[in-house]
């Protein structure tokens, strides 16, 4: 009988998840932690190196902005984690934990972006990533504006950048572009050929500010529109409105407060997502909890997460 080396594995590496069993014997997919989908070039080079050495012929770019190493033998887990660690590349999570936040490019280089989603994603990832929820997965997304490329309302908690506009009538040259650009018609040109603003139709997209050639329209305030309770899969729900103009630096605390409520209230319901928990408890229950901590930003009333009926017609 040949000497067989005992497979040594640091099981601590497996704590937060991210190692997903594949069909092949002893093979796993390793999901990497890439908050906001931001990948520095040195890290990318290191990942390619590790994939070449330990993985299959390709990596997979997941739908939530991760890079997944394919066909990793479990015996190589420690070596993979260590090698990736050289460039600070960590492993992501799966299971009933807070997942890696997803975010669009935000306002850094995209002229449409209203807020710094990358900063928010990194902060929330740092503080809350991997937190066990006790029930089910917990997904967070940040969108820089109402175009909402990340589909924020399909997440357990979705943040969407918003601005409230202000007009400097003296700087206005009456070109009419703001009224022309305003899709919900919150701005119309008045009789004096200056814009007239109506609060109710405004969706806080900032198109008026972006299009104004003289900066007569400017940002009065900005923050996040927060929707809670979304999920996809077999029984999709779209998240509904719980807070408006939440300051960017409050995103972590807000998410933590929602998580707290979820951990508590889902007790006894088994493997249930936040959206279904809100439907069971009633949205007022979560609204009250949030209003006590964030009175200035929580809305006065809301509706339960809405069912998206994807099975009708079969």
């Amino acid at each position: 009988m040949a000497d067989e080396k005992q497979t040594k594995l640091d099981l601590n590496n497996l704590k937060a998840g991210g190692f997903i069993k594949e069909r092949g014997k002893d093979l796993f997919t390793v999901r990497l932690r890439v908050p906001g989908g931001r990948m520095s070039v040195p890290r990318l080079k290191k990942i390619a190196e590790v994939a070449e050495k330990f993985g299959g012929e390709f990596v997979h770019l997941s739908v939530r902005q991760s890079i997944e190493l394919i066909n990793i033998n479990f015996k190589d887990f420690d070596a993979v984690v260590e090698a990736l660690g050289e460039k600070n590349q960590k492993v992501a999570s799966c299971g009933a934990r807070v997942r890696v936040p997803v975010a669009c490019g935000g306002c850094e280089y995209n002229p449409n972006g209203l807020v710094d989603t990358q900063k928010s994603a990194l902060e929330v990832d740092e503080k809350l990533f991997g937190t066990p929820t006790g029930h089910h997965k917990f997904k967070v997304a940040f969108a820089g504006c109402p175009f909402d490329c990340p589909k924020s309302a399909t997440n357990d908690i979705g943040f969407q950048g918003a601005i409230y506009p202000a007009l400097d009538r003296d700087a206005c040259i009456s070109c009419g572009l703001c009224a022309k650009s305003c899709v919900p018609k919150a701005i119309v040109m008045g009789e004096d050929n200056k814009p007239v603003f109506s609060n109710d139709p405004c969706i806080w997209c900032g198109d008026c500010v972006k299009v104004c050639p003289t900066e007569a329209w400017s940002v009065r305030k900005k923050g996040y529109t927060v929707r809670i309770g979304g999920k996809w899969g077999r029984n999709p729900l779209v998240g509904t409105l719980f807070a408006t103009f939440l300051p960017e630096d409050k995103a972590i605390d807000f998410t933590a407060a929602v998580l707290e409520w979820y951990k508590q209230k889902a007790e006894g319901f088994g493997r249930i997502r936040l959206g279904d928990t809100i439907i069971k408890e009633g949205p007022e229950a979560l609204l009250e909890h949030l209003h006590n901590i964030f009175p200035q930003y929580t809305v006065a009333e809301t509706i339960a997460p809405q069912v998206i009926a994807t099975q009708i017609g079969k």
Binding site: I173, C175, G176, L177, K180, S181, K210, V211, P213, T214
Partner: protein, 75 residues
Amino acid sequence: MQVIDLRGISCPTNFVKAKLALEDLDDGTTARILLDDGEPVKNVPRSLKADGHKLLGLRQTDEGYYILELTKVEG
């Protein structure tokens, strides 16, 4: 009056052409830039403003296209 006709040219080519045309003008020259309705008029004026030029006026003609008046500012 310098007229730069960008009608029929889509974004961002119209902006690039405007930039290049303005480069050839002396600092302080006033120019009229003709732009199509839609994306061109929504994007080009503020992009030129961001480049440092002084926007004087923007109005729509009866035919539907826009006339942007600006003063070139040397960057």
